[in-house]
Amino acid sequence: MSLDRRTFLTTATASAAVLPLLKFLPANAQDGDTLVVVTGQTINSLDLHRTGTNRASYQVAVNCYDRLVRFGTKVLPSGDVSFDYSVLEPELAESWEVSDDGLTLTFKLNPNARFWDGSKVTAEDVKWSFDRAVSVGGFPSVQMRAGGMSRPDQFTAVDEETFTVTLDQPSKLALPDMAVPVPFVINSAVALANATEADPWAMEYLHQNPAGSGAFRVARWDQGQQLVYERNDEWTGGPLPAVQRVILREVPSQATRRALIERGDVQMSFDIPNRDASELAESLTVHSTPIANCIHCVALNTSFEPFRDPDVRKAVAYAVPYEAIFQAAAYGRGAPLWGGPEEISDIAWPRPFPYATDLDMAREHMARSGFADGFEVPLSISLGLADWMEPTALLLQEALGEIGIQATIDRIPGANWRTSALVEKSLPLHLENFGGWLDTPDYYFFWAYVEGNLFNSSNYRNEEIESLVEATLHMPMDHPDYTGNVQRMFAIAVEDLPRIPLYQPALNVAMNGADGYQFWFHRQLDARSLTRQSA
């Protein structure tokens, strides 16, 4: 019996059809064709569009589904490979063109693209998937709106292989927004067969049963434990992945993950803490990539009286112990965002603000302000983000004490953080970590500096910023006004300081026996480029 199974195992290809019958994965699973990745996060859905799907689950959309286009890649000065926002590559679309008025985007689909069940990927599937993304509400619909897509009537399947998107106004964000994980293409025939009247978008079915055309399919998903990706050998969306199978195990404890990667029993540990990254860098390959368009900052709520005073805000900016925070909270991983030049000559973002720790300057500004005697304020942090917020808050508290601001640290549970910091915007002094998927400065300003928008937790309002962002958000980056507008936004942000940048955080990944890691803006595992390193 046991002998039979052995022979069976060595001969059987571990296709998804056979896999559920196996008691073991093939004995040679460890050599060459399988990668084991550990992560501390849990995947809670295989469908990004579902209400309640968490960030970690976005990787399923990336690895198992295709989009029309994707971003290219580039090699950073550090030698790490990162996505390249300025380049778009074909995935399901073979080619695309934008009409002269910028309102119509026409995509020609790759005629060879096939879903996992062998059926052809048609424009109808693309339309159904886009309709779904704008109709289900919640995060997917908001992200689609960022690219100017909000209604199903904007999408047309002209013929089997031609798909068009009609915009209400030309926008430079429309095409890049098709390369984010949200507008992934679903096998609509399979989905519709499992839809019900109450559930027209087959949310319940696709939650557990992906139906796509992507590079990997899900061979097995044990919620809260593991996800097994199995390569789709018929994939046409790009170069075929080098590994046959990627096993993603969820291990909540950092210490356990570290022991596993150090021992080499797993080949990759995704999103490791900064401290582990700096210690493991000596013995393993550690990739630390600054996260594009993401800033860890101190936010000063301008509806709270002392922070209405510009001198108080400047005093805080000069009091922050930047270097100490960068070392204690980030272990020097990422990019510093202080001590930059006064003059704004480029549109690089995130950029160092021209402030540095200078307690004399801070005291001078405090003395000039209407709060020369200091004041008391709670400094709020999220317990869910305590790994960087806790040390940052302690250092900040100490430094603010030097200039007469008595801060008491207020730790808010993770579930409550979003509500009080972002939705109600009721925290006077707090830490914030917004990062934008679409990598342009004006996109960051739209979310974090425009009044009423979610990440403007400072309740900041500046008339000029409002009109600048409105004018610039959809403007092409080669427009003659673009650079000037963005630089003006920078100047206002530097002067007004509703948010004081601390540093640009890094995403850390440790590898031991694997290669081919690429950093992506969505900060999740893209398994398609991974290779097994021969030991």
Binding site: F24, N44, R50, T53, Q223, G224, Q225
Partner: protein
């Protein structure tokens, strides 16, 4: 006469039960059990009510949480409506109670699965770990406690004290990481601490949800040993923690039993020390030990979340914590209710075992 002196008739536990369970007795016991279960209904209703009110009273807005990273006001309102949170609390409760009566615990937003399915997957994992730990713990703690009581003040007694102090004073996550460091990282004896099974094994066909039992049912000894190896370190971690109360309680109960009148009588009657110790003293000392065991079990089942995290064990503790962090109402309520039902059953079993251990405690009388 002998009864008044405290020396009970020599009977094994089984014969004691059988003599008690004549046809009339059996019927009486069954009636008593059903009465007991009926009595727990108000408790359960109270638990349902309290868990409902408490989850609503918690800070945190599930609509804001589940609307996702870029949610604006409109999409939060949309999400709230979809989750049924725009209705009045009273209306929500009626809906929830109605679903409960149909045996529907609702859908967990976090996992997207029915809460019942989640519990059915995770509860066996926790139970398997906890029960194994308690068995290990009892196998060590009870003999140790007995020995320490018999040889009071000897090195065994001191060893017992040291073990007990170490057991309670070392937090479980620390012991867990220490054991991983020694047995996995340095010595390489233990398998990768990757949860219930290493990734090269697939879980056995689901019958009970206990991997050890399921793999045996499937006749797959290889998976059985793989599961046992994975189970060893977390179970030992938890056993070390639960050792203390059991050993202390055994020792104390044994000491008071050994100094009681009936033991003196038994000794005077010329019974061998062995019979006196193990049949009469231990038999009587078991009662408080079983009580402690029940308390330890119920405490550990909910509280072993740290061990679950360290060993990536997909248990019920980490499920509840994740649900709580996300304000996942249905999941939290389901967890509380499942625990309440479990404790009710546990207490019933403990009461039954009292009647087995000591025939003077009639179950029907309760």
């Amino acid at each position: 006469m002998s009864d008044r002196l405290g020396v009970r008739p020599k009977m094994s536990l089984l014969t004691r039960f059988r003599s008690d369970a004549g046809p009339g007795n059996l019927k009486r016991t069954l009636t008593a059990i059903s009465l007991r279960i009926a009595q727990t209904l108000p408790v359960l209703i109270g638990v349902v009510l309290i868990s409902f009110v408490l989850t609503r009273a918690l800070p945190g807005d599930p609509a804001a949480y589940f609307a996702g990273v870029l949610a604006d006001e409109a999409s939060i309102a949309e999400t709230r409506e979809r989750l049924g949170l725009d209705r009045s609390v009273f209306e929500q409760f009626l809906l929830y109670a109605g679903d409960l009566l149909r045996g529907d615990l609702g859908i967990s937003l976090n996992t997207g699965q029915p809460v019942l399915t989640d519990l059915a997957e995770r509860l066996p994992a926790s139970l398997e770990l906890t029960l194994t730990a308690l068995i290990i713990s009892c196998l060590i703690a009870v003999p140790l406690g007995v020995w320490a009581a018999v040889r009071q003040g000897s090195w065994v007694d001191h060893l017992c004290r040291v073990l007990v102090t170490a057991g309670v004073s070392l937090p479980t996550f620390f012991t867990g990481i220490l054991l991983i460091y020694i047995f996995y990282y340095v010595l390489g004896w233990a398998p990768s601490p990757l949860g219930r099974l290493d990734f090269i094994y697939l879980s056995p066909p689901h019958v009970t949800g206990f991997y050890l039992i399921d793999s045996l049912i499937a006749g797959d000894t290889e998976t059985f040993f793989a599961a046992a190896r994975q189970l060893a370190l977390p179970a030992i971690t938890l056993a070390l923690f639960t050792l203390a109360p059991i050993a202390r309680m055994t020792r104390a109960a044994m000491l008071s039993a050994l100094s009681s009148d009936y033991i003196r009588t038994a000794r005077a009657a010329g019974l061998t020390p062995r019979t006196v110790r193990y049949r009469y003293a231990l038999g009587n000392a078991l009662l408080p030990v079983v009580t402690t065991l029940g308390m330890v079990f119920s405490f550990v089942l909910g509280a072993n979340v740290l061990v679950e995290k360290v060993f990536a064990w997909p248990g019920i503790g980490s499920y509840a914590v994740e649900a709580l962090v996300a304000s996942d109402y249905a999941a939290v309520q389901g967890f509380v209710l499942a625990m309440a039902v479990l404790f009710v059953l546990l207490n019933l079993v403990i009461d039954l075992s009292y009647a087995l251990i000591d025939p003077r405690i009639g179950f029907g009388a309760k």
